[in-house]
Each structure stands twice: as C-alpha cells, then as structure tokens.
Subunit: 210 residues, 2 copies
DNA sequence: ATTTATCTGTAACTTTTGTTACTGCCAAGT
DNA sequence: ACTTGGCAGTAACAAAAGTTACAGATAAAT
C-alpha cells in the first residue's frame, strides 16, 4: 500500500502524513459494477482513489437515476467528507465503473488531520472545489443542452474515464444514466452513426470521432 | 458589527474567533439587485451573511441564466471559499435578492483560521455540505421534474427566502431564472391561477396555497 | 390626455422528448 | 438445432417545451 500511496500522493502530502495514512488506511479492491455506497447509507470512512474509476449517481423517488460525475485516481469523495463530519446519510450512490483500488481512511483521522496538516486541508478543499465544478458541469449539461449534445458529452466522458474508445454499454444503460428512455438513446446514437462519428454493435459502441 | 456578529454566529464560533472576525472583517451593505460577483471575477474575500439574501446564478455561453440557490443569514459562499484558495475565477454570478448585510473576510485569514479554530473548520465544512446539498436539489429539479413542478418549487422557495407571499417578479424574470421562455411561464402561472393556488397581477404574484 | 414602453394572455405552430408497440437479430443455454 | 431472453431498429403517436406573432392592459412619461 505504501508504494501506491507514494506513487499517487507524494506530491500532495508531506512524508509524515503519508506515513499516517499508511498506518491507519485500509486497502480495498472493488470489482467493476460493485456498489460502494447506497443512498441513505451512513458513511464511516473516506476513500482515496488509487486506480480505477467510480461513478456517482443521483436518484429520485421513483428510482430514476442520473449520472453526476466520475471519481478518478487521486480523487476523494466530497459527499463522504461532509457525511462523515455531519453524521448525515449519503445523498448519492457510488458504483465502481472499473476495477478500482482505494484506501479507506477512518473518519476520526479526517478531523484530526485537518487541524494538523496543511497539505491535507488543501487536498480536502481542492476536492470540494473539483466536485462543485463537476456538479456545475452536470447542471450545465441538463439545463442548457439537448439530449443529443448530452449524449455526446456522455460518450466523450466515458471514453476518457475508461481510456477506451470502445464503450461496453447497452442503450438501456446509457438511458438510465442520462435519465431518458432507451428509444431516445437508440435514435440519437443511430444519427451519430449515420454521421460517421460512432459505430454501433451489440452491447458496445465504438467511438470514431466526436 | 460586533453586535451583528454575536447575534448570528455566537453559537457557532468561539469568542476568540468572533473577536478576530471583528478585527479584520469589513461590514458591507448591498441593495437589492446589486451584483456582488460576476462570472470570471477573482474573489479576494469571503462573505458572511448577516441578513438578507443572495441569489447564485449560473450562465451558459449564450448568456442564458439559471438560478442555482439562495444564500441566507448565517451562510457563506462555498464557491468563494475554493476560489480564494485555488486562485481560480468565479464560476457563478451573485446578486442580492434583498437588501443584504455581510461581513467580508480577507482570504489570508481563511487559511489561518482553518488551522487554528475547530469551529471555523466545522463552519466551512458545513457550508460546503449545505451548498452541495442545494446543488443536488437543483439537479433534481431540472433532471427529474417538469417545468410546472419546477415553477411551483421556485415560487415556494422565493416565498420562503423573502418571507413574503407576494412575489414581485415579472414572468420574464422568472423565465430567466428557470431558463425557459416567458410564454411558458405565463401559461403555467395561468394554470396555477385557475387552480386557485395563486393570484396574478402586473409585476407580482400572490401565493395562496402551493 | 396622449403617447410610449412594458407586461400579460393567448393562439397557432414547431421541435424535442417520451411512450407504446412491434420487428428482427443475436447469443446463451438446453 | 432449437428455444429463450435480451438487445437494437423503427414507426406512430403523445406530451412537454419552445417559438412566433399579435392583441389588449397597464403604468410611466411627456
């Protein structure tokens, strides 16, 4: 774990903090598709992402989903931060988008380190900022763009996160994450294909140029 | 100013911190409609809201607006926090919704206090949490609800913030903040009126029961 | 009092998105 | 080989939201 830590966080945290994380952190590996947090869960530890990616989803009372953003290497979950401190329930669902490695930090340490280490404070604030920014982008997408543009953004984002121009999703899955219907997704994907921007296969989409 | 401070923050901050705020904070009064922050501005101080309300708006490249949330008594601007620390530009616009009083804190103090005062840290984290939660509610509204429901939420919210069941807005102004067109707002308001939930006047709307 | 600008109401229409229904297709499992 | 279930394509339609246009009402300005 120490190696992972140093590789990913040595430029961010001072040695002493790295050592502390190494002491108390618990390494956790999750498989693609595995659920990390469910809406309503109490959160007891804070994840540092070493590798892989986690998707963060919001849900309404009917069970309809919406993809908010992805967490990647070096990220932490801002929601978790405040849930820990405020003892509130999770507002979101977190699912591994890829096989993912994380270090779990007990929440008591969070408070302690925030007083003790400037680098930790900066990290926490930067995380908040990054997440707020991503939330704003999500809001921009749903408020200012039509579904065709949102779909393109979605595909681009997915390609970036998975680092793979072949996206292994069904139209139905995409529809869930964009909170629309399968028929709409199929329709718009077909249009993108006819423009030569993607190629459609069963269970997967190849991105040519978006 | 000390009186204001004690009235609003004495349960949150320890005496020593109240004293420090009193030393370095600058009292500022803004009139309804006055702009506090524009998108792209660099932010050099952090506001503590004593009274009144501030609306936070997002804008797309075409200049279309969207109301994100209101800041009220006891709140601070989470965006500002990270903008200060990260030296980044503002992503949002802030306009006084009512006549408002705030205390402006120089950003250097922020970093200092975060290390020094636990109560300050908690306040900052709680602010982040509150703002993230409000952003989630905004996302819920635009992603999961139709315009008629969003309009009702908007009116309810406005009533709560201004503490007045008479809303002094034109249909056009509401349309801007919900990012839709005036005709749509007029249409839906008329429907609400015919249901007996509101009464429509020129430049104002009276809320009966929503 | 008359003009002017702004606000609201409404009709008619277009576009976008969502829904229903049915088809053929492919792949896994028997 | 054949059945079965999930996936994708498409048409036809419905609903929601956005657009254009215009008329009447009201308030402000001259």
């Amino acid at each position: 774990m120490l190696t992972d830590l140093k590789e990913n966080f040595t430029h961010i945290f001072e040695d002493e903090l790295i050592e502390e994380i190494n002491q108390v952190g618990i390494l956790r590996e999750v498989k693609e598709g595995e659920k990390l947090i469910e809406i309503g869960d109490y959160v007891r530890s804070m994840p540092l992402l070493i590798s892989g990616a986690i998707k963060i989803l919001r849900e309404d009372e009917d069970g309809d989903e919406l993809l908010l953003y992805f967490l990647e290497r070096g990220d932490t979950c801002a929601m978790t931060l405040t849930c820990c401190l405020g003892q509130t329930k999770s507002e979101i669902r977190a699912i591994a988008e890829l096989d993912t490695t994380l270090i779990m930090i007990p929440i008591q340490k969070m408070e302690e380190w925030t007083g003790k280490y400037k680098s930790w404070r900066n990290f926490v604030f930067q995380s908040y900022h990054a997440r707020l920014t991503e939330m704003l982008e999500t809001i921009d997408s749903i408020a200012f763009y039509n579904m065709d543009e949102r779909l393109v953004k979605y595909l681009q984002n997915k390609q970036k996160v998975t680092n793979d121009s072949l996206i292994n999703s069904t139209h139905q899955e995409i529809a869930y994450e964009l909170h629309t219907s399968r028929v709409v997704v199929s329709r718009l994907l077909k249009k993108l294909e006819s423009m030569g921007k993607i190629e459609l296969y069963r269970n997967s989409i190849k991105i040519i140029s978006l």
